[in-house]
Amino acid sequence: MPSGTRVDSGAELRAAWAIARKELRVALRYPMNAVNEVLQPLYQFLLPSLLLGATFLVGGRAIGLEASAGTNDLVGFLFLGMLVGGLVSTAFWEIAFSFKREMDAGTLEPAWLTPTSPRTFVLGRAISGLAISASASLILLVLGILVFGASISPGVVLAIPALALVGFSVLGIGYLVAAAVLLIREPNFFVDATSFLFSMASGVMFPVLVLPLFVRWVAYLLPSTYALDLLRVHAIGSRPLVPLWIEWVALVVFAGVTLWGGLRAFGWTEHRMRVRGALGQH
């Protein structure tokens, strides 16, 4: 909504819900893509990682992982990593990159001419993206438990608020990356590379402690690092990176900071593009 106009929060929320429903309907129209949401992480990341892990097993035990992460549940470690990896991927691909798809289809300008605020489009896509990611992650986790033998403790429920908090951060990061996507115009490589680096630095594939020291400091600045760590601590008893209360505080702070920063960056970019008339260009 252009600045100076009063925002009707109820109408914006209804619009966000409608956008989310539209995105979900489109996703369900392509069942192969939906199946791929589960299969792709399985064959592209989980199975090669599990088999690499199996190469280091001694007497069937992951003693190396136990030394570096405090748990020998290789399967649980990787499947929980994939869960947070899915959330990161949602911020980059489902929320931010969808603007590029709209640009290519030529529907971005008409959509932004409607009375709905562009920020609401991001929110709508975040809702649908998180719903898809959560469903795919849940199926993967069940597969991990039933087929691959992950032993997830019931204590995992204690980490669910961490996932809710990181959901806000995902939305904030989605706003930030969406701003970059709008400015770059040819953002495939940017989104692909940053999404991958973000996941890696968060410890999706390996314990954060194996990262070189300077990269480890970057990892400590990512909300997903703490969400994943809390999840692993409560679900498979891994060793926490820092005391747990610090992780909870960090998650709350990051949720606020990323959302505030993301909204500011997106608002600034939106204004700049309207002034320059660059919305239809790509």
Partner: protein, 281 residues
Amino acid sequence: MTALAISADLRAFGAAGMKEWRLLRRYPSMFLGFLFWPIVLPLAYVLQARGFAGDSPAALDAFAARTGTTEIAGFLFLGWAAYMWISMILWGPGTALRTEQIRGSLEALFLTPVSRLVILFGPLVSQVIWALWMFGIVGGVLVVFFGVSISPLEAVRAAGVILVAVPALYGLGALFAAVVLRFGEVHAMVQGVRGVFTVFCGMSFPIVILPDWAHRVALTLPPTYLIGDLRTALLGSTSIVGQVADLAILLALGICISAAAIIVFRRTERHARRGGSLAQY
């Protein structure tokens, strides 16, 4: 076929390769990707291996016993370099034909007197340059950052393995292109085939740890031999069957797959001409 026709086809082959190379040069951001992924993707798995090893001598010994080498970085970099080369080949010709179809230029291309082999294999020529570039980067990273010593003789042996793998992999790319032309879908098929290779061919692991049935599947797939022999040539790791036998199998698979690709492509073309589906998508 006369010498004149062969020479004309070779010129057309060169022109097709040059066209693809020009298209690649027009999008410089792609160069970033070709520099970034050959380093960062394997590096992520090297860090993962470090996490799985956890500085435990027993875990490192288990890796060495199963792979026949202690060079973890070399083992993973070579596996993922092969993966990226295969990805390029799978995406390349299928996407090139599909793009021509979407642009509406495929029908015009088929009306030219040029051999179908040029249409099928022409786009792959430019990708040889990228493959060499990628293996060069991987070799450079291994030598400079991980201290892997690669002698000129070992480099020549690795180049020989790559050369022997060319018919099999490019035949696979061509076969794939024919299937794409028939069904008009690239993305899901590339993901599916790449997934099979990732799970069975040992990009990040030695195939000896696979269950029996999966091990047998791995032995029918050309990338298994490419990856295994590259590791044997450069790191001295255990070969799949035996180095000479591996190369002979790879070459034989290449001949069979290329022949199958030509047959399938001809049938697809005949089907498309009869159904008038070349311009449809």
